[in-house]
């Protein structure tokens, strides 16, 4: 009897290990409070949804911010994408403030670029699937090479996060505006066929 109880306990511990690993691996997939799920509300906007606006003057930082420990000098916005609707284009104009774009999926960030990579003051990031990438390559006009930065996403859903740093409190308003000024649009499939 004792021996069987010991065996059962041992089996319980082994099972606990398996459950532990399975639970840790399943959390990012099942989580409802993660950034990918929360960013989804911004899918229909054509500019980033500001998730952390800097406090300016009397207006305090908004309470709806869900970042656990945000940087009080960096305005943050997100644009969610769903590549089944078509490739996602993020266009930013560089300004006096440092700006960075990073593309995240459920697995983590797969690409990041700062405004120092901008060509003539413009930064165009296109996120697409492998098939859409091949299509874009085939559609390219040889005489007029595209200046887009094309990134193949490892998964269909995710978001692009826009960060603008305000070095001084007086730049906070400009940083909030710079996040809003970024364009996030879906390159509709209709446009592609029209180009062809």
């Amino acid at each position: 009897m004792r021996l069987r109880l010991a065996y059962a306990t041992l089996a319980g511990f082994v099972l606990a290990g398996i459950v532990h690993i399975a639970a840790v691996l399943a959390i990012p997939r099942l989580a409802e409070t993660d950034a990918v799920t929360r960013a989804r509300t911004s899918e229909n906007l054509d500019h980033p949804q500001v998730i952390y606006a800097l406090s300016t003057g009397e207006t305090a930082a908004p309470q709806e911010a869900w970042l656990p420990i945000p940087d009080p000098a960096v305005a943050v916005g997100v644009c969610a994408f769903d590549l089944t609707d078509g490739p996602m284009r993020v266009s930013a104009r560089t300004g006096p403030l440092a700006l960075s774009l990073a593309a995240h999926g459920r697995q983590g960030a797969f690409y990041a670029v700062t405004d120092q990579a901008a060509v003539r003051g413009a930064l165009d990031l296109v996120i697409l699937t492998r098939a859409q990438y091949d299509q874009a390559l085939a559609d390219d006009d040889e005489n007029e090479p595209s200046r887009d930065v094309r990134i193949v996403a490892p998964e269909g859903r995710g978001f692009v996060v826009v960060r603008v740093i305000a070095g001084l409190p007086s730049q906070r308003e400009a940083a909030n505006a710079a996040v809003q000024a970024v364009n996030c649009t879906t390159d509709a499939a209709a446009d592609d066929s029209a180009k062809r």
């Binding site: 511990f13 532990h20 950034a35 869900w66 697995q107 960030a109 690409y111």
Partner: protein
């Protein structure tokens, strides 16, 4: 009273023994299924509880120690470990990507003592090369609404520097000349976060050592 107590004491082992016998007989009778049930319950409870514990709060591992600071270069990368990904998912965190910046945190001073809100610290020296950086302090839990909110941190642009380009931030509950960073709460532990934006250090954290990160020196504590 004494009689009643001793009577109870005499009855207790007897009843415990009776319950034990009952359980033993039940186990013997139901045998295998009960043991299987026991193993399954043990596995489920221990497994879920340990998974919850490991993914609550901060990142359990993946940090890189540099003096009092811990750098988290892989927190936002695609190759992050499953625990880091689970922590990010549970907190709704959007970590800095490798090309974007690097997060360093500190919860202890140079001598390994926990940062305490009632103490005064001098944070100074150099910062790894970066286009911009911010140094922020946070206490545990929500901000105390009664305390005046003066500032949470400094950016590389607004900080006052000495002639050689180095700086000293005084983290103190009382106002200080120079770069004064007020303690976020009256008492309790604090955490410092140093965020480097657009830094080459993110790609090679191994190249950082104590001489390029700020030192955290305790100056004294309020009684």
């Amino acid at each position: 009273m004494k009689v009643a107590l001793s009577g109870q004491a005499a009855r207790l082992p007897a009843s415990a023994g009776a319950i034990g016998g009952l359980v033993a007989r039940f186990v013997r009778k139901s045998g295998m299924p009960l043991l299987v049930l026991y193993a399954l319950a043990l596995g489920a409870v221990l497994g879920l509880a340990s998974a919850d514990w490991a993914t609550r709060g901060g990142y359990p591992f993946g940090g890189f120690r540099i003096g009092p600071w811990t750098a988290w270069p892989r927190a936002g990368a695609t190759g992050a470990d499953p625990y880091t990904r689970a922590v990010n998912a549970r907190r709704g965190e959007i970590p800095l990507a490798v090309g974007e910046g690097l997060l360093l945190t500190a919860a202890e001073d140079d001598e390994g003592r926990t940062l305490d809100a009632s103490c005064t610290y001098a944070i100074g020296g150099a910062v790894p090369p970066a286009r911009a950086w911010t140094m922020t302090v946070a206490g545990r839990g929500a901000r105390d609404p009664d305390r005046p909110h003066i500032r949470d941190g400094f950016t590389s642009t607004e900080i006052l520097r000495r002639q050689d380009g180095r700086f000293v931030i005084t983290l103190s509950p009382e106002a200080e000349p120079g770069n004064w960073l007020p303690s976020p709460r009256a008492t309790g532990p604090m955490r410092l976060a140093l965020r480097l934006y657009d830094t080459p250090a993110a790609a090679g954290v191994g190249s950082l050592d104590r001489s390029v990160v700020p030192s955290i020196t305790r100056k004294g504590c309020a009684p």
